[in-house]
Symmetry: C2
């Protein structure tokens, strides 16, 4: 049971900032830590959303495929889903939803996940285009991204909330990914309006931070001059 | 094997800052996560150093007792010891040792533990005196502390290193506790000179952050106005 109250994370947002984009965990390994999650591929290769143990990979082209076990990532989150229904909401945008999640869950000082299934409108997502070594910074790499829009779409949003204290290791606050029920549209969520949907959440008491200690570039990098907060806000 | 590469932490340094000093984990529970560690008791009740599964409690009086299973803590670290010898060092002070640990371990971007056993001189430790609710801030509570000095003393130093990125959740950099071989002297280390000792270290790839989600005061606290970095540096 205890693994249902743990949020696993491989890598940190901070390591993406200077461009440490080498894939340091395989999908096979990540899936040992959860059946639900988000992430990005080596070289900022698109956006991942894992649902029911299936890792959907939204490419920079917008195409969606299932990532193979050998797919590698510099950063990912995963957990074993056991969401509790929180509310059925209508006509809320992202800021409303986030605010209601904080109020209803009363969990702003811990990690939790949000899952919303329903009908959305004006969904805007993005997916970065994979770059090759030598990697540029996150901000430079993320400039090469595609933005996708869909007006009416039925689908699932999976998000994580992290307390501000962990900004840098994580995105402080909310970080949402999306995939449509027909698996034709998805990515990192930039904005949305929820017409009507079921909102559920899952609270964690443990944040399991795994670091790529086997990666020489990571271990030797001097982070002291990186503008981590700036790099994250510019790109996330 | 995997639990020998995990550093477990209950609570955060940040929660101590505004005075959330209620004990939210028992010693019995903490010892499930390690046989080695450090921490403080409810109400900032002294300093703990766990060696070989034995939790030594350095009281504000300087007395050292074994903490019972029911002893509770707002903040603690633990791990299962499997240290690797790193060096035999002579005539180094704290700043030297810390710098050498960083150079020799090449692990500044991950969590690790340091253990030093040997002969120390001019060791200065402190232990806070337990306060009762309603608690004051960490800085106010820590004013009521005892400082202990010992010139020549044989003993064990246990410390943790955390990357700067995790400052706030942890003490960024090094955090050392000490206990003499005769169990008569110890506490949170303020300064020392190592005459001669064996230095070993243990690298972690995982930081397991456990939060006191069952504690209403913690969950409802507004951390946004706390000077977390200032509070930690003033007191640690």
């Amino acid at each position: 049971m205890s693994n249902q109250i743990t949020l696993y994370q491989h890598g940190t947002l901070a390591l993406l900032v200077p461009g440490l984009l080498t894939g340091t965990i395989t999908m096979a390994e990540l899936l040992k830590h959860g059946d639900t999650g988000i992430g990005t591929g080596e070289g900022l290769d698109g956006e991942l959303i894992i649902l029911d143990g299936k890792p959907y990979h939204v490419h920079g082209t917008g195409d969606i495929t299932i990532a193979p076990d050998s797919f590698t990532m510099p950063f990912a989150n995963a957990h074993f889903a056991r969401y509790s229904p929180l509310a059925e909401l209508e006509n809320v945008d992202e800021a409303d939803l986030n605010q209601q999640m904080i109020s209803l869950s009363r969990a702003r000082n811990t990690f939790f996940s949000v899952e919303v299934h329903g009908v959305f409108s004006n969904v805007q997502t993005r997916a970065a285009v994979k770059s090759n070594p030598p990697y540029n910074t996150l901000a430079e790499t993320a400039e090469n991204q595609s933005v996708f829009n869909r007006d009416q779409v039925k689908g699932t949003l999976v998000g994580y909330y992290s307390p501000e204290l962990f900004e840098g290791a994580t995105v402080g606050g909310f970080h949402h990914h999306f995939i449509s029920d027909d698996h034709q549209f998805g990515g990192h969520v930039l904005s949305f309006h929820l017409d009507k949907g079921d909102v559920s959440y899952q609270l964690f008491d443990t944040f399991e931070q795994h670091l790529p200690v086997g990666n020489k570039q990571y271990m030797e990098h001097d982070f002291s001059n990186d503008d981590i907060a700036g790099g994250i806000h510019q790109s996330e």
